[in-house]
Symmetry: C2
Subunit: 242 residues, 2 copies
């Protein structure tokens, strides 16, 4: 009997925003894997830390974070083989995923290598996008709005077209693209309906109208939400600046 | 001291997919409100049922579901006044929300009436879109894909343009628009990379390639995911039909 592979969505950062199901599986598996940068702590592990026991084996998957590219596939080849050995030995393995495993997550690289060979279950999680809307106190999208999720590394021309076509927009992976994206939103006349959230749901969370961000850069875990039709949104973000 | 208003995301349907935070608040509040149809059970209440105690006061907000329109605002005026009386009396009130409160949720109608008057906290939840991707075993979006969420009631012309512009698409609120949407996807040559999920995460969940759906209608809680570039997706949905 081989083990089961779990992709566990852990939510946006607050350990209390994991699901009962992810909590149950996390507490019971003998092997826990998670992405980790080459230096510094693993964010996924930090979210799960309150629930990890000393008897559980931890397998960090070291992914160089400095380069904002798709990481070398060799990393995932090696990690998949390590996890395969545990699965072959009959141990269930949980891979910890920030947010939701299948919403722009790196879990897909392990999934595509292992799901054909082992029983696999994905446990969906709360995405940072939902948490950002909650923090801003404004619907992400409503009624018959088209909501587009736009990755920050995209070129200005593509980004502009996608923002123009949607009623609501979430720009993710903002990071070092922040100043350029802010300038584009300003040029489109949409700054007044844009909100900015950094490290959502963590103690160091920052929530403010985009117009009030004085920095020219943003951390990797930041998001910009645009709600075009939102007069209520404008009023609320304006009030938040007082 | 007035009470606090909570908007609780309960996730897509499986009671185990609620967060630890929603569970804690749900277990502790004296007053629980939820949307309910004029006939039949409340889906939000069904999700929360295992965690509701006999000592908690329940306030159904009756919203006629038969008409797929924006419900009469008078319903929410009345419900807001009812909840305001509990909040004024110092009772915390939790409003149960299917999925995530701010992802196309009707909670916004109570939020806009009450959040200016009472302390309000939104607890984000797992959306049915994330759960549908998990059920299909395929990333919702990855790398620098643009993901667009397109409500089913939109006209063919708008829907076609939004599908053309995105790398990945989630069509929500499919319901009685199913046959028209399926025909559009076929005309666009995208059927082979489209998956269909009905009543996701519940015991009666159905997951299949769009091409294999024989019915001409779908329940309200159904979703179509399109992943254009997904060769892996195509292989997997093909395998699922064997």
């Amino acid at each position: 009997m081989t083990g089961t592979l779990y992709g566990l969505g852990l939510g946006p950062g607050d350990p209390e925003l994991i699901t009962l199901k992810a909590h149950r599986i996390l507490s019971g598996v003998p092997v826990i894997a998670y992405p980790a940068p080459d230096t510094g702590p693993s964010f996924a592990r930090q979210i799960a830390a309150p629930y990890i026991g000393a008897h559980q084996l931890e397998v960090p998957v070291i992914v160089p974070m400095r380069v904002e590219r798709f990481p070398a596939q060799e990393v995932y080849d090696g990690a998949a083989e390590t996890l395969a050995r545990h699965l072959d030995a009959g141990s269930d393995v949980a891979v910890l995923c920030e947010g939701d495993p299948f919403f722009y997550g790196s879990f897909m690289y392990l999934f595509e290598r292992l799901s054909g060979r082992y029983e696999t279950e994905i446990v969906p999680g709360v995405s940072s996008m939902m948490a950002a809307a909650a923090a801003l106190g404004r619907p992400l999208a409503a009624r018959n709005d088209v909501l587009s999720i736009v990755p920050g590394p995209l070129d200005d021309d593509i980004m502009r077209a996608r923002i123009e076509a949607a009623g609501a927009v979430a720009i993710i992976k903002v990071g070092r693209h922040f100043a350029r994206i802010r300038a584009l939103i300003k040029a489109m006349g949409l700054t007044s309906c844009a909100g900015y959230v950094e490290r959502v749901s963590l103690a160091e969370q920052r929530v403010l109208p985009l117009a009030d961000v004085v920095e020219d850069s943003a951390p990797y875990f930041s998001i910009i939400l645009i709600y075009k039709g939102g007069e209520g949104w404008k009023a609320r973000t304006a009030a938040a600046t007082e």
